[in-house]
Symmetry: C2
Subunit: 232 residues, 2 copies
């Protein structure tokens, strides 16, 4: 896998970096390949690298002391992950990054990134802006988890996923998502069983079509209606 500096421009935080800086980033990083279900790093590992996904898909997980886990975010190509730990010196990753399918990521040395951020205020500002969007998204999801019922949370999660990763497959065929029931449960703070029952019901209603590790959204508008939950 060869990565050029023009590829790196797809990373929001590097959009305003100079070509020299991009070259330097490439020089101070390595590509790591991870097979399906493999890990880029674990919660608690010392945060020596910041990653940019270049191929595949991954998820960011947080585990409770008892071992239950929630999914914080799905990572798509050219998105950064592990940046939180990388900003502060001697930090550890607050979450685990696991590949959903065979994936590759550029691993940039944390120390190098810190130096870069110090020298280039535009990169620093863009990274900060990215962080504000994370905070807002987490706040919104927190509110959702606290105030909304499972139906609405799941509808919202599917809508969000459709917007991020949805491939409009052959026309009329709907938006296809590749996630297991367990994955969706971890994203919405519920259980595998409840998701299975809910998706079955939605399939009966004709809103979606399901398969093994696959959900195809046929009627996005109906999901939006459920997410908004006008009646109580």
């Amino acid at each position: 896998m060869n990565i050029s500096s023009s590829d790196l421009k797809q990373v929001i935080v590097f959009q305003r970096a100079t070509d020299e800086e991009l070259q330097l980033i490439l020089k101070n990083s390595i590509v790591r390949m991870v097979e399906e279900n493999g890990f880029f790093f674990f919660q608690g590992d010392s945060a020596n690298y910041l990653y940019v996904l270049v191929r595949g898909r991954a998820k960011l997980l947080q585990a409770s002391p008892q071992g239950q886990q929630v999914s914080l975010r799905i990572i798509h190509p050219w998105q950064m992950f592990g940046a939180l730990g990388a900003v502060r010196q001697e930090a550890t990753y607050p979450a685990t990054a696991q590949a959903l399918e065979e994936s590759s990521a550029l691993a940039i040395e944390s120390g190098f990134l810190r130096a870069l951020v110090e020298k280039n205020p535009r990169i620093s500002f863009d990274l900060m802006t990215l962080m504000t969007t994370y905070i807002q998204e987490m706040q919104a999801r927190y509110r959702e988890l606290a105030t909304e019922r499972v139906e609405q949370r799941v509808a919202n999660a599917l809508i969000r996923l459709a917007g991020q990763s949805g491939l409009k497959s052959s026309k009329e065929a709907g938006i296809e998502l590749s996630f297991s029931r367990q994955d969706v449960a971890e994203m919405t703070g519920t259980t595998l069983y409840t998701i299975s029952r809910l998706l079955s019901e939605w399939e009966r209603q004709g809103y979606i079509e399901t398969g093994r590790e696959r959900i195809t959204i046929l009627k996005p508008h109906d999901l939006v209606r459920i997410a908004e939950n006008l009646e109580k």
Copy 2:
């Protein structure tokens, strides 16, 4: 209320600002006084100011479209709030800030802050570091809400509040917190009724003592035990 530049050094993000910068900050800001239950800003307002609380206590709320609300954070003196909106140009506040008691805050013009951040990389870096702590806290609370039972979440919330705002009142008398049952419910994603029942039970057990808008922690260690929930 007169604020000196040395007061401002208590603000984490301004610790490494120069005296000149601090003077400039004061020159570009005004003090706003808000009575109990009053608002500094509402979710959706255009984010023209970033605030630093100088006196009193406030909470940051996020409301659902149906009007239910959750508390995202309790704000104590010399903490910043409304910073998220202030970083990006033409943003709106993602949450509402309401005073828990008569409070004053320094309102700093967003545009001025943006300029300051651009000029002083240390401030920018410290602000970014502060944001990483918010993200981590929100992620941790999200996980907690998704995986833990009410008892544990409430115990955790009280422990957190005790650490932040707890006054060790007269020795042996425990740590006193001033929050209504409704406040605690909004912090933990549950209801007024459940909090009331739970606190009554804990009072019977002797862990806490309660009153109108008051919770006194007598046995912090027992709360920690509940929060950790070793048995299922």
